[in-house]
């Protein structure tokens, strides 16, 4: 009965309080008299039933009275008053708006990125039925890892025929394609695809038609479906494009269709394809001859009712049958199935969610800070609330005033935040690696706006509720008599202190993340790559797309005369220090040729042991500045008829020769036996985070190739020469597509994800610390202002300014210290979860934690310094007069 009485006393409307209490008492007596149970629980339930409905009634009271104008009028006037009173205190308003804009802006921008890349379904009809199929190399297979490798053509055709749960389509990676409609050849990306690609993805052309299986026949295959972008760029969006021909030096292609603007496939490629042409493999590619070429990207649409798991088990049993007949095709790999969404975003999701988490901390700190600012304001306005209460305003009425201010602030802050996010995304757009899937689709759309609105609502409620409660609390009313002097007692200061500790603790976490990512990035960029990648321009000459759809057999740069001509002319360009040709994959480009190596009767054919094979001209060592450790490098004397030679790197020597001197030994590589004539230093051609591979260098003249690259070392910025270099290469090998890139940009691309992690977490960390600093400053300044009399008394009693400053700073130190300890504990708990994203740095790296501690301690104390100075300068006479 005590609880019930308490409830009625606390919660019933005053005019009902006594009668309800009496009614309850009366009913209880009656029940007891009739022998029914009337215990504590009954009373509580009865009280709750009585008061609860009255509560609800008062809540919908306005609505029930049917006067909507009154409610909204009241609301509008609340908002109007809020705007006016915010204008009266520009300092508070500016601080609150800045904090909110930053918090909501950062969160909205990051969410827009995650939304576009990870959360949104793929832009196809029934996207959940799309799957990606690949061959997973056993060495790369790890649970939860989404790296499906490319598929060999014979496997694709076997699967297409045998699988009943799925319709399959395949495409190659895009190849270069030069059209010569004007004077300037234009470099395009062409994707060879099976006709089924359009059915599987369910894409309808906006003009014309797509190609069909009839076109998958040699001689009938010279048709192209072009992308919307290319159509607009090249043909100005002319509807008469259908039937026009694209002139390539190897022939002509007829445009038969234009794809819609939103069509994007494949994802995560640097340049989306401009045109799609039929994939027509020759007989050797389809048959299981000795050479295995993994070059197809396979996508499928599940037939209705089938699941990824069913398809997975089906493809395993189908493949097992093939593997019995052709064991060598599946010795080191097995088929893998993932939903297309998973295959597209799986490898970036973790990283993006991590960044979203980091931004969440910034938003939380902004929330806490706003609550803190509002609380300080509510307390300083206690007298206003008291007067309003005395004039008959209800608690709800007073709380509404405070909530209205928080709503106005959050509305303005959200508007500012969305603008900041739009601006930030534009700035960020160029920083995001193009290999991030769907990066072009990032935008602030309705979904993002809706999320921002929900976030803002939560912020408004979380930040506004505490202060609203406090403003309307009974204690403030009781403080009327105190002359406003002690209206701010311990409780308020304690709450402020708790909020500062929370802000500091919350700021530690993203800053530790930033520290760990920065350390990782530093380690990655400090890895010795074994070459000097600065000031090197590479021009890759890709094989041409020919009428037969196969790779060219034409010489390109392979002809001895062509390469000599090109190198001689390039060497004469101003600022060029050395020039070399290379085939087999430019370092860091992600492509290489590999071969098994046989030495002394042992063949090393393990995938890990296969050597990377490159044919180079003599100056290659000079261009990339690697050192010859033993013997000699490729020389001008190593011509086609001369003895076949090879130069190995240290890693190859370590693996295949151990302690023996390899120079003079004979090794078998792919084609023929070769004499090892030299050893060069290791180059981390696969990037700084990958292990060193064994490498073999062969004289260009002894193994020329149509698919080659020219590398030019220059004295200064190599991009200046890009045009001249392209022109010379085109002169020598007309019609081939050329792509100039610097070696440095290739290295940058490899470390770009880490750089992005570092930049974004650092940005979030800095924002978090900045907001927390504002919070510390605010609370300390507030405390000093409230303690003015106390400080005045102290000074009057002989305290020196130094004493006073120490007092204020001591308090700040305590708060920051407590926040650091809490945040440190939180960060060390969370740090374990980002281990997978770090490179050669431990999640609990003491140096990172220590520097974060120092940074926050210094900025925190600096923030408290100004209020401490104010405190030290308090004039005791003025302070006493105030009372």
């Amino acid at each position: 009965m005590r609880a019930a009485r308490w409830l009625v006393r606390r919660a019933a409307p005053p005019e009902w309080r006594e009668s309800i209490a009496g009614d309850l008492e009366e009913e209880r007596m009656r029940r007891q008299a009739t022998g029914r149970r009337a215990g504590e629980l009954w009373a509580l339930a009865a009280a709750l039933g009585s008061v609860g409905e009255l509560w609800l009634e008062s809540w919908r009271g306005d609505t029930m009275r049917g006067n909507f104008g009154a409610i909204f009028g009241g609301l509008l006037s609340d908002l109007r008053v809020a705007v006016r009173s915010l204008c009266w205190s520009p300092g508070f308003t500016f601080a609150a708006l800045a904090v909110l804009t930053i918090g909501i802006g950062a969160a909205t921008a990051m969410f827009a990125i995650v939304h576009a890349i990870v959360l949104r379904p793929l832009p196809f009809d029934e996207p959940e039925r799309l799957v990606a199929i690949g061959e997973v190399h056993h060495r790369l297979a790890a649970p939860g890892l989404s790296n499906l490798g490319s598929v060999a053509a014979p496997n694709f055709y076997d699967w297409q025929e045998a699988l009943t749960n799925v319709d399959l389509a395949a495409s190659t990676s895009a190849t270069g394609f030069t059209i010569r409609d004007g004077d300037q050849p234009e470099e395009l990306r062409a994707l060879r695809a099976t006709a089924s690609l359009f059915e599987v993805l369910r894409v309808r052309p906006i003009l014309g038609r797509t190609f069909t299986t009839e076109h998958e026949v040699q001689g009938n295959d010279r048709v192209a479906v072009i992308s919307d972008g290319f159509w607009r760029r090249q043909f100005g969006g002319d509807a008469r494009v259908i039937g026009r021909t694209l002139h390539v030096d190897s022939g002509t292609w007829e445009v038969i269709g234009v794809l819609p603007a939103g069509f994007a496939y494949p994802f995560g490629v640097e340049q989306p394809p401009d045109l799609f042409v039929p994939y027509v493999p020759n007989e050797t590619a389809r048959s299981r001859t000795a050479s295995r070429n993994y070059n197809l990207r396979v996508v499928g649409r599940l037939r209705s009712g089938a699941s990824v798991a069913q398809l997975d088990s089906e493809i395993r049993s189908v493949t097992a049958a093939v593997a019995r007949a052709f064991p060598e095709w599946f010795a080191d790999r097995s088929p893998g199935v993932l939903s297309l969404h998973e295959a597209t975003v799986g490898r970036v999701r973790g990283r993006l969610f991590l960044l979203l988490g980091a931004v969440g901390f910034v938003l939380l700190i902004a929330c806490v800070n706003l609550a803190n600012l509002m609380l300080a304001r509510a307390t300083t306005r206690a007298r206003e609330s008291q007067i309003r209460a005395a004039l008959g305003a209800s608690r709800w009425r007073i709380a509404r005033g405070v909530l209205a201010e928080s709503v106005v602030l959050v509305l303005a802050g959200t508007a500012g935040g969305v603008v900041l996010a739009a601006w930030g995304l534009r700035a960020l757009g160029s920083m995001l690696p193009a290999t991030l899937p769907r990066v072009a689709a990032i935008q602030i759309d309705a979904g993002v706006l809706a999320t921002a609105a929900v976030v803002a609502l939560i912020v408004a409620i979380v930040a506004g509720l505490g202060p609203a409660h406090r403003a309307s609390a009974r204690e403030t009313r009781l403080a009327v008599d105190a002359g406003g002097r002690s209206g701010i007692g311990r409780p308020r200061r304690t709450v402020g202190a708790v909020l500062v500790v929370a802000e500091v603790a919350l700021a530690v976490v993203p800053l530790v993340g930033a520290g760990l990512f920065t350390a990782s990035f530093r380690h990655v960029t400090n890895v010795d790559l074994g070459l000097d990648y600065r000031n090197v321009l590479t021009v890759s000459v890709a094989p041409r797309l020919t009428a037969t759809g196969g790779d060219v057999q034409e010489p390109g740069l392979a002809g001895a005369q062509a390469i000599d001509d090109a190198l001689t002319r390039l060497r004469m360009l101003p600022g060029v220090e050395a020039v070399a040709a290379l085939s087999g994959g430019v370092p860091f480009s992600g492509s290489w040729n590999s071969s098994a190596l046989t030495v002394g009767g042992t063949t090393f054919d393990d995938p890990d042991d296969r050597v990377q094979l490159r044919s180079v001209t003599p100056d290659y060592a000079k261009v990339i500045r690697t050192e010859v450790h033993r013997g000699r490098y490729v020389s001008e004397a190593d011509v086609a008829g001369a003895p076949a030679v090879v130069i190995l790197n240290e890693e190859a020597v370590r693996r295949f020769f151990g302690e023996q001197d390899p120079v003079g030994a004979v090794v078998q590589l792919r084609d023929a036996p070769r004499i090892v004539v030299g050893v060069v230093g290791d180059v981390r051609v696969r990037g700084p985070e990958e292990p060193v591979s064994p490498e073999a260098y062969i004289p260009w003249a002894q193994m020329p190739s149509a698919s080659a690259s020219v590398l030019i070392r220059t004295a200064d910025d190599p991009t200046r020469l890009a045009r001249d270099v392209s022109r010379i290469v085109l002169d020598v090998a007309p019609g081939v597509p050329v792509v100039p890139r610097t070696l440095e940009s290739l290295v940058q691309r490899m470390v770009a994800p880490r750089e992005l992690n570092m930049l974004l977490t650092s940005l979030f960390g800095v924002l978090a610390v900045a907001i927390a600093t504002v919070g510390i400053h605010g609370v300390m300044a507030y405390t000093v202002a409230q303690q003015q009399q106390e400080i005045g008394v102290r000074i009057a009693l002989g305290a020196s300014p130094g004493n006073i400053m120490r007092m204020v700073l001591g308090r700040a130190t305590l708060l920051v210290g407590a926040g650091l300890v809490l945040g440190g504990v939180g960060a060390s708990v969370l740090a374990g979860s980002i281990r997978a994203f770090l490179f050669e740095v431990q999640p609990h790296d003491p140096a990172v934690f220590a520097s974060v501690g120092i940074v926050i301690a210094v900025t925190g104390l600096a923030a408290a310094w100004i209020p401490a100075r104010w405190a030290a300068r308090v004039d005791p006479i003025v302070a006493m007069q105030r009372s």
Binding site: E18, S19, I20, G22, D23, G49, S50, L54, E57
Partner: protein, 112 residues
């Protein structure tokens, strides 16, 4: 002008409570009203509903309340007693007329 046009129609619950007040006057209060309705109709209203209904009726001006004397069996707490007002009486009459009109079986010829 119909009395409903200003204050709205009587809800069923309000109607019941108003009639209970009529029977209990001048000593109608929440507990007795609830008892009256339960004993006559078998409908056991929730306590809260009775309070809310009384509050609404008072706002509409159909009932008026006054404090009764505190009694010991109520733990020394006073009752809040309700009496019907003139407009409450009119509201009952109007509601019943309206119901009666609606229940009449022969169609009304438009005579107005």
């Amino acid at each position: 002008m119909s009395p409903f046009s200003v204050t709205g129609l009587l809800g069923e619950l309000q109607h019941l409570v108003l009639l209970a007040v009529v029977h209990q006057e001048p000593d109608a209060y929440a507990v007795s009203i609830r008892d009256e309705i339960e004993s006559r109709t078998g409908i056991a209203l929730r306590r809260g509903s009775v309070y809310v209904t009384l509050q609404r009726l008072e706002r509409k001006g159909y009932v008026a309340s006054a404090w009764g004397a505190p009694t010991p069996e109520r733990g020394g707490k006073a009752k809040r007693c309700f009496t019907l007002t003139a407009s409450g009486r009119r509201a009952i009459a109007a509601a019943e007329t309206a119901l009666a009109c609606m229940k009449r079986t022969e169609p009304l010829r438009s005579s107005r």
